[in-house]
């Protein structure tokens, strides 16, 4: 089966600093994959390369077999890849609903239809009560949910989540995990998530890729990875919930 | 046309360009450190020019002699502007700060119009018609003195930033705002100081420029635009770049005015601006913005 998202020997440097080096992994359709590793391992850089924010120095990125490396971010989104930002970027002057409508416009040609779909997503993410509030008035956990809602509204085939669990209370996190499981099961939505919160990683992912200093040091099922000595080594001293 | 004419015009442009460069230096300092786009820059220079004219017509004081006091007055103006007007709004969106200074510029230009009227005014010094003969070149004495004064002030400024403690503190602020705060520098006061210094630059440039041109209030916006073109061409945040840009623009303007009609010479300035913005936005000596 063709992987939905595939990175092949991707490298990216910034002024001589090798952020990502010869990284290869893939996400199958409907699969949930976690990308973990210590800070500075190159995880967000991978996201940015996939999303088209950076152009890889070497290697290829394929979406369902088609090469998308070198595409602009908006082209990548229209092809079916949605992403959230680690430092959330809400449209502060717009309301929650309006924020999500912007996302929904990606696949809905008319505003009416986009508003309808946006309303659904807003409810799913538990932001219904605040739908007419300006995004600037939301708390950080709520902004993270808005970020997810917006990305979800674009109707993606794969969702790139960048540390969305950080700062959430355990119940909120459980709700998010349940939501993603549900979307994955019902819609076949593939997910690639960067996470530090191991509880969420273990609960969601079927496959884990571990990055360290820009290279893949391990990949496999959660059980395999958490027993891998190299992984334990690089995480010694790092958190693990 | 004989080569001498081109050379004369080019040298003349170079000397004028040095004064332009001094003016732009002030803007570069302000933007490089405080990160404020001083849209009232040219207007501040025009204030200095009118001050020089007023002092000259009242007391026959040579503008070059009055350079330091006028610069001091502008320093005070800049200091107060930064402290009172800009500092409180330092966290506002960029275009908000910009409009603030647009408003100030509007008030300054029209204030000058009200006080001094729209007619052109000039300063005629004793040496206004002298010239030096250097080989095939005939150079206006005023232009030579102007260029020399500009270079002297610029040198003083470089020395200040290189060798004094305050100068280094200011450079620290520019390089790393948070770091400067952490080591205990009073950033707000240093910002005010910097704006004052930039204003003093422009004050000096103004009292020098008064020897070279007729002064009318609309010069304000024209010089503001020119300062931006120079700073962008030479490189935002680069002090040598400002001088280099000034000289470049001065020469281009002068030659352009010679080859085409004099009134069209600023069109070349704009052409250069567009080209720089498109193809080398960091300017000739600037670094790419992080």
């Amino acid at each position: 089966m063709t992987p939905l998202l595939e990175l092949a020997h991707v490298s990216k440097s910034f002024s001589g600093l090798r952020a990502v080096q010869d990284v290869s992994f893939s996400v199958a359709p409907g699969e949930i994959v976690a990308l973990i590793g210590p800070n500075g391992a190159g995880k967000t850089t991978c996201f940015n390369v996939i999303a088209g924010v950076y152009r890889a120095d070497a290697g290829e990125v394929r979406l369902a077999g088609t090469r998308i490396d070198g595409w602009r971010p908006d082209q990548v989104c229209r092809a079916g890849v949605a992403r959230t930002f680690q430092l959330v970027k809400p449209f502060a002057g717009l309301t929650v609903m309006e924020n999500v409508v912007v996302g929904a416009l990606n696949t809905s040609p008319g505003v009416r239809e986009a508003e309808r779909r946006a309303a659904e997503v807003v409810e799913q993410l538990g932001l219904g009560a605040k739908r007419h509030q300006p995004a600037a008035s939301l708390t950080l956990p709520e902004r993270k949910r808005l970020e997810v809602a917006r990305a979800l509204a674009t109707g993606p085939r794969i969702l790139l989540l960048d540390e969305v669990m950080a700062g959430l209370r355990p119940t909120e996190m459980d709700n998010m995990v349940a939501l993603f499981r549900d979307l994955n099961a019902r819609l076949g939505l593939a997910i690639l998530l960067i996470e530090h919160v191991m509880r969420a990683v273990m609960a969601l992912s079927r496959h884990i890729v571990v990055l360290h200093h820009g290279e893949v040091i391990a990949a496999g099922s959660p059980e395999e990875v958490t027993r891998n000595p190299a992984v334990l080594d690089c995480y010694l001293g790092e958190e693990a919930v | 046309m004989p080569v001498e004419i081109y050379l004369n015009v080019a040298v003349s442009g170079l000397l004028t360009g040095l004064v332009y460069g001094l003016m732009a230096l002030g803007l570069s300092v302000i933007f490089g450190v405080v990160r404020v786009v001083n849209f009232a820059h040219g207007e501040m220079m025009t204030i200095a020019m009118y001050l020089a004219i007023a002092l000259f017509s009242a007391y026959r004081l040579d503008p070059l002699v009055m350079l330091v006091p006028i610069a001091a007055v502008l320093f005070a103006l800049g200091y107060v502007m930064q402290l009172g007007l800009i500092n409180p709004f330092i966290n506002r969106p960029e275009h908000s700060q910009f409009m603030l200074l647009v408003a100030v510029a509007l008030i300054m230009v029209n204030g000058l119009l009200i006080i001094f009227g729209p007619d052109a005014q000039t300063v005629q010094t004793r040496y206004a018609f002298d010239s030096f003969l250097v080989g095939p070149l005939i150079v206006d004495a005023t232009k030579v003195y102007a260029g020399a004064a500009a270079v002297a002030v610029a040198a003083g400024l470089f020395a200040f930033f290189r060798f004094t403690l305050t100068g280094k503190a200011i450079r620290a602020c520019a390089d790393n705002y948070a770091g400067a705060l952490v080591v205990g520098l009073d950033v707000k006061r240093l910002y005010a100081l910097t704006f004052g210094i930039g204003a003093a630059c422009v004050g000096a440039a103004g009292s020098i420029m008064v020897l070279l041109v007729d002064v009318t209030p609309p010069l304000g916006p024209a010089y503001t635009l020119l300062a931006f073109v120079i700073v962008i061409t030479g490189g935002l945040g680069s002090m040598p770049g400002a001088l280099l840009g000034g000289v470049l623009i001065g020469i281009t303007e002068a030659l352009g005015g010679l080859l085409f009609t004099p009134s069209a010479k600023s069109m070349f300035t704009f052409a250069i601006l567009v080209l720089v913005l498109l193809f080398r936005p960091q300017g000739i000596l600037g670094r790419r913005a992080s």
């Binding site: 930002f85 912007v102 309303a119 007419h132 | 408003a103 635009l225 069109m267």
Partner: protein, 344 residues
């Protein structure tokens, strides 16, 4: 559920709007000639302010050279009329086309090469100045000496050639302003409007959501330029003389943005309120000073400067949003998809 023009507004909203419209329609019956000329000026600024607002308030691009489009519109329609006898109603099509092309060039250069923010503003100033100097040397269009439209003594209004009394121009300007208002309202709620606001708020996030920011920024610039040029057509046929030094001057560019900034960038009513406030206050000030025998050039501009300063410092949203909240004109929507916030 699509939001209609008046849906969600408290009942006063549309009622007030209708009342205002009726008032404006009837104004010439009670106003003297002087007042009508002031009103024409107000409506002109309200109109071009709205056109500028599309670029800044909706798409977030600061243009300080909008006088370029006014001038292009004015000169194009005037030249076609004087040199070829073409009616301004046809001429305005050419005017819009030329202004749109100019906007497209500026937009393309800016957005393709990543010129944004303050640099973009300076670029727009440079183009306007370029035009000012260029037109100063263009003999066929009168050069610095000016371009004049024939002012014949008319006893009736000639709408086809836009020759007529101030009252005729008043209704034209009113129609333009009202039309722009309706257009902006429709745009804000359209897909294009949502995308523009997204780009304004966060270009990065907008891109990540599938928005081609180059294309939509271009739309904003071209539309804004074309709309502004219509203001130029009105300008040319109303004043009957054009001088590059005045028409393209940076003071014109700044004048026409004062209304939207003081009234409220990004709002529908801001440019209108701003234009009204500024012009009304300035004229009152002028009258008061003339009464005392003072007639100094520059006082009006200083006044504008202080207004701008005060608004930027203390009313960053502009005058309209707090006023709207005070008047209870905030839009309140029922449950379900919809929008909220200070409106219009």
């Amino acid at each position: 559920m699509k939001i209609g023009l008046t849906e969600g507004l408290p009942r006063r909203g549309p009622a007030l709007l209708a009342a205002l419209l009726v008032l404006l329609l009837l104004a010439p019956l009670v106003a003297n000639d002087y007042l009508i000329t002031v009103l024409v000026l107000i409506l002109y600024f309200a109109y071009v302010g709205q056109a500028w607002n599309i670029m800044m308030g909706f798409a977030g691009q600061l243009s300080l050279g909008h006088a370029l489009y006014v001038g292009l519109g004015a000169y194009t329609s005037a030249a076609l009329y004087v040199h070829f006898g073409i009616s301004p109603w046809l001429g305005l099509l050419a005017a819009m086309a030329i202004a749109a092309a100019a906007g497209a060039v500026i937009g393309f250069l800016a957005f393709r090469f990543g010129v944004a923010g303050v640099y973009f503003a300076i670029l727009t100033i440079a183009f306007a100045e370029f035009a000012r100097i260029g037109f100063d040397h263009w003999r066929w269009l009168g050069g610095s000496g000016g371009f004049f439209l024939p002012v014949a003594n008319y006893t009736r209004n000639d709408l086809l050639s836009l020759r007529g009394s101030p009252t005729m121009f008043y209704y034209l300007a009113l129609a333009m302003t009202a039309g722009a208002f309706v257009l902006c309202h429709a745009l804000l709620r359209s897909g294009v409007g949502y995308r523009w606001q997204a780009i304004r708020e966060s270009p990065e996030a907008a891109q990540a959501l599938g928005i081609d920011i180059f294309r939509y920024r271009m739309y904003a610039v071209v539309l804004s330029a074309a709309m502004t040029s219509l203001g130029g057509v009105l300008f040319a046929f109303y004043y009957n003389n054009l001088f590059p030094e005045q028409v393209f001057h940076i003071s014109r560019s700044i004048e026409l943005i004062l209304g939207p900034i003081i009234g409220g960038i990004g709002t529908l009513f801001g440019p209108i309120i701003g234009a009204f406030l500024l012009t009304a206050l300035a004229e009152t000030l002028g009258e008061a000073m003339r009464a005392f025998g003072i007639d100094i050039p520059g006082v009006k501009q200083v006044f504008y400067g202080f207004c701008l300063l005060l608004v930027v410092m203390f009313l960053p949203e502009g005058v309209w949003p707090p006023l709207a909240r005070r008047l209870g004109l905030e839009r309140r929507l029922p449950a379900g998809p919809g929008r909220a916030g200070a409106e219009p």
